[in-house]
Amino acid sequence: MNEIELAGLCSQKDSKAQHLLYDLYHKRLLGICMRYGKSNAEAEDILQMGMMKIFKNIGTFTGNGSLEGWMKRVVVNVAIDNFRKNSKHYHLEELDRIDEVPIIDPEAAENLAADDIMMAVQQLPDGYRMVFNLYAIEGYSHQEIAEQLGVSVSTSKTQLLRARRFLMKQLGELNAITQKAPVL
C-alpha cells in the first residue's frame, strides 16, 4: 500500500488505515512536537491536535510531495496555532542577561545526546523556542515568522539571537560536564 492509497483509506475513515498511519508516523511527529512544547505532555497535546487535523483533512492530500512532509507541515501549523492561541498566557520573555557564553567544543558538541539537546530546546522560553524552531529548523524567514506569530520582525530577530545564546549557554554547560566526566 502506497502513501496515496493509505491517505485515501484514511479519508474514508477506515479505522485500520488510521491506526496504521499513526503507527507509521507518530514517533517522527512527536519528535517535532517536542521541539515546540516545553514538556513532553505539551508535545503530546500538540500531536493529538495535529493528528486530529490530519485525519480531518487528509482528503486534501493530493500526492504532491510526501505524505510525511505534509503531515509535518500540518503539525507545525498546529504548534503555531497553539502558540498563538496561548500567546496571551505567554510573554516574550526577557531572560537575565547572559554575559558569558561558555565555549563549545565542536567535536564534543557532536557527542551531545539528542535527548540533551531536546531538553535544552524545551527549556527555552516559549517565544524563543517558537522563533528558533521556525527559523533554524523549519526555514521560515523573519518576515514569515512575524506574520505567523503576530510580532514585529525585529522582535523575531531579537528572540532568535537570545534563543541562540540561551542554547549555547545550556549546551556549553552540558559540554563542560561531558568533558569533565571521567572516562569509564
Binding site: L30, G31, F55, V101, A114, Y135, A136, R164
Partner: protein, 435 residues
C-alpha cells in the same frame, strides 16, 4: 567559543531534525477515542440533541407536574393537591396547629397536603400582607408537609375561612404506604405511568436472524443457502424513554450478536483435464488367410475420452458472527389498561461494528471457504417493536418486547460483491423504571 551564529542552528537541526520518540499508550487511546467521536459526530450530536430535548421535557413537565397552580376565582381559594385521600380533614383547632408561616402573594393558592394527615390551619390573625412559611406536621410526626403558598384574594379573610372554602378533589389512586406504614412525599408526587416523564428500561433476550444473500451469481448464493442456516443470537441493552403524554421517544444502547451456522461439510470431485486421456478400443476379426491359417485383422478403432477427477473433502463448520453496538432512535405510542400498557415503537438504529468472524466461500472458487475481513464498520437498521408492560407499582414495570429489525445495509463493505443483510426477530425481557 564557536563564533558562527549558525553553528548552534545547524547543530540543533542536525541532531533533532529526525528525532523520534514513541508516544504514550494513553495518547493513542485518547486520540482514537476522539477520532471515533469525530467519525460518528453526527450520531453523537443527534443523541445529545435527543438527550437535551428529553432533559428539557423532563424538567419542564416535572415542574408543571409538581406545581399545578390553578387560578383563583373571585372569592374562592382553590387548593391544588395531588393524590390526597378524601379522608383528609382540615381541622381548625388552633391548639393542634403548627402553623409556622404563610406566604402571601397575589391571586393563587397552592399547597401540597399529604393523606391521612390532619392539617390544622388555625391562626386567623395573620396580617394579610405578612409573609410566612407554613409547615404542617402530621399527627405521628413522621410526615412533614410543606404548604407552599396560601394567598387570599380578599383582604381580611382568615385562614379558617380559607380552610372552609378549600375544595379537595377526590383521587382514586391513594398514596400507598409500605408495610411499616411509612409514607413518603416522593410517593405522593410520583406520576402515574403514562404521565410525561422519563424512564429507563434494562433488557436482554434472544434473537433469530434470517440472512438475505444476493450478488455475484446464483450459484454462489445457492452454495451459501445450502450450507448455511440460521442460529439464534442475542441482544442486551438499555433504553432511555422520554414520555410526552402518550408519546414516547426512545434512545439508548444495544449490543446485538448476529449468528449464522456454517456447515460446509461435503465431498466433491475436481475435474483434472491434464490427467484425462483417450481410451482406445480396437475391434479385430479373425480371417482365414489360407484354409489352415487364421490371422487377426483390425476392422475398427473406437476412442473414448476418459475424464479423470480428484476427490476433495470440504469440512468447514462453525458460527459466522457479527456483533454491533447499536443506538436506537424510536418513536412510540402508549395504550394503558389497568396495570398493563402496550407501547408500539418504530424507528431506526445505527450500529457500530464491534466484532466480526465471517467465513464464506471464496468468490473465485466456491469450494474454498475462507474468512473475509471486508466487513462494514457501520450498520443502519429500521426496527419496530410492541412492548407489553405489567406495572408492579408506580415506578417499576416488567416488560416483554417482541421486535423486528431489518438491516438496510450489507454487512460486507461496499466494494465486496456480495450483499448480505439480516432480518432479525427477537424478544426482549426486562424491567422498566420510571423516574
Amino acid at each position: 567559543m564557536k563564533e558562527d551564529p549558525n553553528f548552534i542552528d545547524e547543530l540543533v537541526k542536525k541532531r533533532l531534525d529526525n528525532f523520534e520518540k514513541p508516544a504514550s499508550n494513553n495518547l493513542r487511546r485518547k486520540l482514537f477515542w476522539l477520532v471515533f467521536l469525530f467519525n460518528f459526530k453526527w450520531l453523537f450530536a443527534l443523541g445529545t440533541l435527543a438527550g437535551m430535548a428529553g432533559i428539557a421535557a423532563f424538567l419542564y413537565l416535572g415542574e408543571t407536574d409538581h406545581l399545578n397552580i390553578l387560578p383563583a376565582s373571585d372569592s374562592s381559594i382553590v387548593v391544588e393537591q395531588q393524590m390526597v385521600s378524601t379522608e383528609n380533614l382540615i381541622d381548625t383547632n388552633p391548639t393542634q396547629n403548627e402553623l409556622t408561616s404563610v406566604h402571601r402573594t397575589t391571586g393563587e393558592v397552592v399547597t401540597n397536603i399529604a393523606p391521612e394527615v390532619k392539617v390544622i390551619a388555625g391562626n386567623n390573625k395573620k396580617d394579610p400582607h405578612q409573609r410566612v412559611d407554613t409547615e404542617l406536621l402530621s399527627d405521628d410526626n413522621q410526615l412533614t408537609i410543606k404548604a407552599v403558598e396560601i394567598v387570599e384574594t380578599e383582604q381580611g379573610s382568615s385562614i379558617s375561612e380559607i380552610s372552609n372554602r378549600i375544595s379537595i378533589p377526590s383521587f382514586s389512586n391513594p398514596l400507598e404506604t409500605d408495610p411499616k406504614g411509612n409514607t413518603s412525599l416522593r410517593d405522593v408526587n410520583a406520576p402515574k405511568y403514562g404521565d410525561p416523564w422519563f424512564s429507563v428500561t434494562i433488557y436482554a433476550g434472544p434473537a433469530y436472524s434470517n440472512v438475505f444473500v444476493s450478488g455475484i451469481s446464483s450459484e454462489y448464493v445457492d452454495q451459501r443457502k445450502t450450507y448455511e442456516s440460521n442460529r439464534p443470537g442475542w441482544s442486551v441493552g438499555t433504553d432511555f424513554k422520554f414520555h410526552l403524554d402518550r408519546w414516547v421517544l426512545n434512545t439508548g444502547f444495544n449490543y446485538s450478536v448476529y449468528n449464522q451456522k456454517r456447515d460446509y461439510s461435503y465431498s466433491y470431485q475436481e475435474y483434472l483435464p491434464d490427467d484425462s486421456y483417450y481410451h482406445y478400443d480396437s475391434t479385430w476379426i479373425w480371417v482365414h488367410e489360407t484354409p489352415t491359417t487364421i490371422i487377426p485383422v483390425l476392422i475398427g478403432v473406437d476412442s473414448t475420452w476418459v475424464e479423470v477427477y480428484a476427490d476433495h473433502t470440504v469440512d468447514n463448520r462453525g458460527t459466522n458472527q457479527v456483533r454491533y453496538f447499536e443506538i436506537p432512535f424510536m418513536v412510540g405510542y402508549v395504550f394503558n389498561r389497568n396495570l398493563f400498557s402496550l407501547e408500539l415503537n418504530a424507528g431506526a438504529s445505527v450500529g457500530i461494528l464491534n466484532y466480526a468472524q465471517i467465513s464464506v466461500p471464496s468468490l473465485s472458487n466456491y469450494n474454498e471457504i475462507g474468512e473475509t475481513k471486508q466487513i462494514n464498520q457501520t450498520m443502519l437498521n429500521v426496527m419496530a417493536n410492541a412492548t407489553f408492560y405489567y406495572h408492579l407499582n408506580q415506578q417499576v414495570s416488567l416488560m416483554v418486547s417482541p421486535y423486528y429489525k431489518q438491516s438496510l445495509q450489507s454487512i460486507f463493505s461496499s466494494n465486496y460483491p456480495v450483499n448480505q443483510r439480516y432480518g432479525t426477530m427477537g424478544v426482549h425481557f426486562g424491567v422498566n423504571i420510571l423516574f
